[in-house]
C-alpha cells in the first residue's frame, strides 16, 4: 500500500520535473523559462521527497528530507528572482 502511494507521488514528481525541463528547453524568453524551471521543479522535488519519505524507517529522516526541500525552495525562488531582476536591469540599460 505504502509502495503504491510512494510510487504515485514519485511518478507525479518526475512528471513535474519533465514538464519543467521541457519548458526550459522550449519556452521563448528568459522569464517564462525561469518560471517553468523554478515552479515545476519545486513542486516536483516536493512530491519526489514525499514519495521517499514514505519509505523512511525513522521520522527523523523524513524531517531531513523536509529540510532539504525547504532549503531548495528558498534558494530556488531567491535565485530565480535575482536572475530575473538582473535581466530586467540589463533591459532597462539598453
Amino acid at each position: 500500500m505504502i509502495d503504491l502511494f510512494s510510487s504515485i507521488f514519485m511518478l507525479s514528481g518526475i512528471i513535474f520535473f519533465l514538464a519543467g525541463s521541457i519548458g526550459l528547453l522550449r519556452l521563448p524568453d528568459l522569464y517564462s523559462r525561469l518560471h517553468a524551471l523554478t515552479k515545476a521543479d519545486n513542486l516536483g522535488l516536493g512530491l519526489l521527497l514525499v514519495g521517499l519519505a514514505l519509505h523512511m524507517q525513522q521520522p527523523l529522516f523524513a524531517l531531513k528530507l523536509l529540510l532539504i526541500w525547504l532549503a531548495v525552495l528558498a534558494a530556488g525562488s531567491a535565485s530565480a528572482h535575482l536572475i530575473a531582476q538582473h535581466a530586467r536591469r540589463q533591459e532597462a540599460d539598453q
Binding site: A71, A74, A75, A78, H81, L82, Q85
Partner: protein, 322 residues
C-alpha cells in the same frame, strides 16, 4: 533488476560527467564554462557518493563545486570584458589565437601525460598493495584512535602527518594571496530578497559547519567540510554586500590563519615531550585532541578560503569597525 538499474544510474552519471567536462572546456564564454564546471562538480560529488565515499562527496560538493565556482566567478568579474568576445583588433587577434592554440595543446598534452602517469601509478598500487590489509589494520585499531569514523581516524590520527602538511600548504597559499595586494572591491548592497535569504542562510550554514565538525568523529564530516561550509557563509554575506564578514584584522587575523597548523604542531610536539612519538596521541585523550585540532583546523581552513575569495590582504582600518 535492482543491479541493472544501478548500473544504468552509474552509466548516466559517467556520461553526464564526461559531457559536462567536455562542454566546460570547449565553451568560449568564460562565465558559461564556470557554471558548467560547477555542475560538473555536483555530478562528481554524486559519483563519489555512489563509490561509497560520502566524505569525499561532501568535500567535493562544498569546495569543488561551491567555493571554487564562487572563486572563478569572482575572478571573471574582475577581468574587464571577459564575457564579451573582444574582436576589434584583428592583426593582434590572429597572433593571439595562434599563441592560444599552442598553449591549449601544450596544456592538453601535459594533462594527458599526467593522467596516464596517475592511472599507471593507481594500477601499480592496486596490483602491489594489499588493500584489504590496510582496511583491516584501520578497523582493528579504530578503538584506539578516539573516533569511530575510519576516515577521520586516518586523517587525524594514523596519517595525521599528511593532514598537518595539507594545512601548511593552505597557510602558504594564504601568503600567496596576501602578496596580491588589497581585497576586491565589495559588492553593492543586496535587495530585500537576497538580503532576506542571507539572513536566513548564514546562521543555518554556521550551524551546519558546527554539526559537520562534531559529526566527523563518527560519521562523514570533519574539518575540511566544516571549514568550507563556514567559508560559504562568509561568501554569502560578502555577496549580499556586507563589508564586514566576520574576519578580524591585523594580529587576530594572523592568529586565525595559523591556529590550525600551530595547534596541530603544538599537540604533536607535546607528545614528543611526553615521551611518545610525534603526533602519537594516548588512546584515552585521542578523541579530545582530535576535536581540538579539528576545531582549530576548521577555523584556519575557513579563513583561508574566505581570504581566497576576498583576493587579497584585508586593509587595516583606522577607525574600529562597529
Amino acid at each position: 533488476m535492482n543491479i541493472i538499474s544501478l548500473y544504468l544510474v552509474d552509466i548516466l552519471l559517467v556520461i553526464s560527467l564526461l559531457s559536462l567536462a567536455w562542454a566546460s572546456l570547449t565553451t568560449a564564454d568564460a562565465r558559461r564554462s564556470v557554471i558548467l564546471f560547477m555542475a560538473f562538480g555536483l555530478v562528481l560529488a554524486l559519483v563519489w557518493a555512489r563509490l561509497l565515499a560520502p566524505d569525499v562527496a561532501l568535500a567535493e560538493a562544498a569546495i569543488g563545486a561551491g567555493l571554487s565556482g564562487a572563486l572563478l566567478l569572482a575572478a571573471i568579474g574582475e577581468q574587464p570584458g571577459s564575457s564579451i568576445n573582444v574582436n576589434t583588433d584583428h592583426s593582434e587577434d590572429v597572433q593571439d589565437s595562434n599563441r592560444s592554440v599552442v598553449v591549449t595543446w601544450t596544456i592538453t598534452g601535459l594533462c594527458a601525460a599526467l593522467a596516464i602517469i596517475l592511472a599507471w601509478t593507481l594500477l601499480q598500487t592496486f596490483d602491489n598493495v594489499n588493500n584489504k590489509a590496510t582496511a583491516q589494520a584501520v578497523s582493528e585499531n579504530l578503538t584506539d584512535s578516539g573516533v569511530s569514523n575510519p576516515v577521520t581516524a586516518v586523517l587525524l590520527n594514523f596519517r595525521a602527518y599528511d593532514t598537518l602538511l595539507e594545512l601548511a600548504v593552505l597557510l602558504s597559499a594564504v601568503l600567496g594571496i596576501f602578496s596580491l595586494g588589497g581585497i576586491r572591491s565589495p559588492y553593492q548592497l543586496a535587495g530585500p530578497v537576497f538580503d532576506g535569504l542571507a539572513r536566513w542562510l548564514v546562521p543555518v550554514l554556521m550551524l551546519t559547519a558546527g554539526y559537520l565538525l562534531w559529526v566527523g568523529a563518527h560519521a562523514p564530516g570533519g574539518a575540511f567540510q566544516a571549514g568550507a561550509t563556514l567559508a560559504a557563509a562568509a561568501v554569502v554575506l560578502r555577496l549580499a554586500g556586507h563589508h564586514n564578514i566576520g574576519l578580524p584584522q591585523g594580529k587576530s587575523l594572523h592568529i586565525i590563519m595559523t591556529i590550525g597548523v600551530g595547534l596541530f604542531l603544538l599537540v604533536g610536539l607535546s607528545m614528543l615531550a611526553l615521551g611518545r612519538s610525534f603526533l602519537d596521541y594516548p588512546p584515552a585523550l585521542a578523541g579530545t585532541l582530535i576535536l581540538v585540532i579539528e576545531t582549530a583546523a576548521m577555523i584556519s581552513i575557513a579563513a583561508t578560503l574566505v581570504l581566497a575569495f576576498l583576493g587579497g590582504r584585508p586593509q587595516m582600518q583606522k577607525h574600529k569597525p562597529c
